[in-house]
Amino acid sequence: MKSHVWRPLYVVLIVIGAVLVLRKIMVPSDFGIGARGYMYGWHRDGNEKDWKKVTVKYQGAEYCKECHKDKWDEIKQSPHANISCENCHGPALGHPDDPRSLPIDRKRELCARCHFRLEYPTSGRGHIRGIDPRTHNPGLECVTCHWPHDPRKEGHHK
């Protein structure tokens, strides 16, 4: 057969070769079928490690307890026992090295997350003692009268 018949075949072979070389260069070597198999597993293996490397911000109340045992003991025997320290004090990442990095949230809106009165008897919310912030001492911080670490006690004054 004459060469003009074969020429397009060479072109096709060169294209296939180029695609294979490009794929080798551009697709990471750890890209492949993961543990979940053909349909759900295709991925770059290193990405699992990337996600594991994300910084942990919330350290948990046990971490706070190491230094603040007195506060821990107080809140644990109060009705607020289950509230994590970091819900109001902010994530403990960077604490105690940089004490300023703990922004304590004393806003009325923080307490109102649970204590805004919603009359929902079929929800746990209906059983929480609540107020209407518009009529209940507006403008005052809740901690003026209520001590958050044990709401049965009176608040603190600066």
């Binding site: 759900y40 770059r44 911000k57 289950n82 649970c114």
Partner: protein
């Protein structure tokens, strides 16, 4: 000159040949079949939500956004809390302002476009809160539709997104029947709840579980029969969301009613 018989034969041969998918020519690999079928994995993360306990404080949403670096004021979130109120006239009202990042501090329901509807407590038959998050489905539709292999399921059942590999086509955002996925405002790639993969792989609880003061959110390993979450799932009347889609969701709910979608 081609005969009619020969023409018909060749046409059928070509049509038949085109109908064979390339994948059918691949060599059978028992190792892969093993990987798809075996269930000898030690861990499968599942989630348990108790809607009876949730009070809608939204501390979980706040913690999630901070922990996972989702911009705090952007109206996107990996987990959110919905408020449901079924009134005496048979209507169901649902809202989740800012994903309940600041909780629910009004009796008014957010009905969108800056409008609010007052729902009086004496009109309510039942009202409750339902936290939502990624269901880490056993048949994740979001993973199937990814054209580049940027989203995938790990061997412990968590669906992750490769931020360097995602092309931002949005098929997965469309494909998720639970509306869990969104575009990350900073990275401009698909973003979703991943059960705080960096925390659970270190033996910690997720940020939302740590922030919940009411025990409404719990995470566990369903492969461990001694896990308290596994025991609840096995022995109590749990339900899942949108079972009819066949996605096999792995977030189990206590106290669901038909109004919850």
């Amino acid at each position: 000159m081609i005969s009619r018989r020969s023409f018909c034969k060749k046409t059928l041969l070509i049509a038949g040949g085109l109908a064979i998918p390339l994948s059918a020519l691949e060599i059978f690999d028992p190792g892969r079949l093993e990987a798809e079928k075996t269930d000898g994995k030690p861990t499968r993360w599942v989630f348990l939500v108790d809607t009876e306990k949730c009070v809608g404080c939204g501390f979980c949403v706040k913690a999630c956004k901070t922990e996972n670096e989702v911009p705090y004021d952007a109206n996107v979130t990996r987990t959110w809390v919905e408020r449901y109120a079924v009134t005496k006239d048979g209507k169901t009202h649902i809202d989740s302002p800012k994903g309940a990042r600041d909780g629910f501090q009004t009796t008014k329901f957010d009905i969108g476009e800056g409008k609010f509807e007052e729902i009086k407590s004496q009109d309510i038959d039942k009202a409750f809160f339902v936290p939502k998050l990624c269901n880490q489905c056993d048949n994740p539709p979001c993973v199937q539709v990814c054209p580049v292999g940027a989203t995938y399921q790990t061997k412990d059942g968590v669906v992750l997104v490769d931020r360097t590999w995602c092309i931002g086509c949005g098929y997965c955002v469309m494909g998720c029947p639970y509306g869990v996925r969104f575009f990350h405002p900073v990275y401009h790639v698909a973003e979703k709840c991943n059960f705080c993969y960096h925390r659970i792989s270190k033996g910690m609880k997720t940020a939302c579980v740590g922030a919940c003061a009411f025990g409404a959110r719990r995470i566990g390993n369903i492969k461990d029969p001694g896990d308290p979450v596994t025991r609840v799932i096995m022995t109590e009347r749990v339900n899942v969301l949108k079972e009819e889609y066949g996605t096999k969701p792995q977030v189990f709910y206590l106290g669901l009613t038909k109004e919850v979608r």
